[in-house]
């Protein structure tokens, strides 16, 4: 905006924001956004300078001592829920349940479906060479891995029931985890990648019996089950 009271703090209006460049440097952008910045950097020396400067600072920060006050804050015991939060959640749940049960003409069958909280999805934390590369990224946005990478997965979009995590490659599939939906959705097994084309599937059902049927007959699972598949390409470690 030419008649604005201030200019924006960037070389030209088409440049990415400073925050986007910082997130680019630490690999915290989705692949499309990162590609757009890659292309922009080809033709923008000031942004390239900024990225180079931040890369150097990030390199220094990799070995920076963690402030004692921060370490002390991290060592405090974790409180997952406060009593008032529980009360609020219980109240919210009551409203939801009531609004479902009083709908006219419906016969509630609470054990027929998994409790749905949105689309079934997996997010991942990636450990590479002992370093945490990213946390809680949508697994669909994780397009390439290296052999030896370790993933910690979290399922979202399902509040109760049973689920299975399956790893597949051209030779077949192997169930990596199965059981009740874990608290907070955190899958209690890690996943290690080895080179090749693969996919990870998550299947959620209201109970163990239907989950068994879904796994035994993946092409025709019970209607109350949901499944999502994530193709994964794993490169050799350079």
């Amino acid at each position: 905006m030419s008649d604005d009271v201030f200019r924006q703090n960037k070389p030209s209006p088409g440049c990415p924001s400073a925050l986007a460049l910082s997130r680019y440097v630490i690999d915290d952008l989705d692949p499309d956004a990162a590609r757009r910045i890659d292309e922009h950097l080809q033709s923008c020396p000031p942004c390239r300078t900024q990225v180079e400067r931040e890369r150097e600072e990030v390199e220094v920060a990799r070995t920076a001592p963690v402030p004692p006050a921060l370490a002390a804050a991290a060592s405090r015991p974790r409180r997952a829920w406060l009593p008032w939060s529980l009360t609020a959640v219980a109240a919210a749940a009551a409203v939801v349940v009531l609004s479902v049960w009083i709908l006219p003409g419906t016969t509630p069958r609470p054990h027929d479906t998994t409790r749905v909280k949105g689309a079934l999805a997996l997010s991942a934390a990636l450990l590479r060479d002992g370093e945490l590369v990213f946390e809680q990224r949508d697994l669909a946005a994780v397009t390439s891995l290296r052999a030896g990478d370790r993933l910690r997965l979290r399922v979202t979009g399902v509040g109760s029931g049973h689920l299975a995590l399956t790893g597949c490659d051209p030779s077949g599939c192997q169930v990596l985890f199965r059981g009740p939906v874990p608290a907070g959705g955190a899958i209690p097994v890690g996943v290690r990648a080895t080179a090749g084309e693969s996919r990870i599937e998550v299947t959620a059902c209201p109970d163990a019996t239907r989950l068994d049927r879904a796994l035994a007959n993946p092409k025709n699972p019970p209607e109350s089950c949901r499944r999502r598949s994530y193709p994964i390409r794993v490169d050799q470690n350079p």
């Binding site: 009271v5 201030f6 924006q8 703090n9 960037k10 070389p11 924001s17 400073a18 925050l19 986007a20 910082s22 997130r23 440097v25 630490i26 915290d28 020396p45 000031p46 942004c47 300078t49 900024q50 931040e54 990030v58 920060a61 990799r62 920076a64 963690v66 921060l70 370490a71 804050a73 991290a74 405090r76 015991p77 974790r78 409180r79 997952a80 406060l82 450990l127 370093e131 945490l132 946390e135 809680q136 370790r150 910690r152 790893g167 490659d169 192997q174 990596l176 985890f177 907070g184 209690p188 097994v189 890690g190 996943v191 290690r192 990648a193 080895t194 080179a195 090749g196 994964i232 794993v234």
Partner: protein, 185 residues
């Protein structure tokens, strides 16, 4: 099998690592430059930016202990450090130190971005407008973020961002005009 489960002690070790201090170390080291850079753009003073960044990490960890892990640690850290830095900028004693007594840090600028004098003037206005306007304006002017990017970060609608920026512009215009009048008299 291309993807295989890691069971037993290896898994426990991995989960323990993530849930304990090592994870905190990793988050701190990974996001330090991003968080400190945001504070530096608001404050224009490296020492105070370091101080605010550390406070932001402590609050982030405290929040995580109470409410569990964040889906977007970078976004949460940016929101926390922005509020802390703006509070410092608006604090009367700090404001004198930041905006009147010491000159702007040349490293606080962005290559090809605003000149140090322009940044100083912008910070002077940010220190005097309501917090919400200062927050949105700092994302727009200091970081060069567009309306949609700000809306996504704050979890609001881009039209709300536009309205807040319009209010900021009107207020900034009045403040700058008053400043010129005072300087002339």
């Amino acid at each position: 099998m291309v993807v295989s489960a890691v069971r037993g002690p290896g898994v426990n070790q991995m989960l323990d690592d993530e849930d304990s201090g090592r994870n905190v170390d990793a988050i701190y080291r990974r996001h330090l430059v991003l968080v400190r850079g945001r504070a530096l753009r608001i404050l224009g003073n490296r020492a105070l930016a370091e101080e605010v960044a550390q406070e932001a990490f402590i609050r982030f960890i405290g929040r995580r202990c109470r409410l569990g892990e964040e889906d977007n640690p970078a976004g949460m850290l940016v929101r926390i450090v922005t509020n802390l830095a703006l509070n410092m900028l608006r604090d009367a004693k700090r404001r004198r130190e930041l905006l009147e007594e010491s000159g702007p840090d040349p490293e606080a600028g962005r290559p090809g971005g605003l000149a140090p004098e322009e940044l100083l003037l912008l910070r002077q206005v940010l220190a005097r407008v309501p917090q919400r306007e200062a927050r949105v304006a700092s994302y727009y002017y200091l970081d060069g973020m567009e309306h949609e990017e700000i809306a996504a970060l704050l979890g609001t609608h881009r039209r709300a961002v536009g309205r807040t920026l319009d209010k900021f512009r009107a207020r900034a215009t009045r403040l700058l005009a008053n400043g010129k009048e005072r300087a002339a008299s």
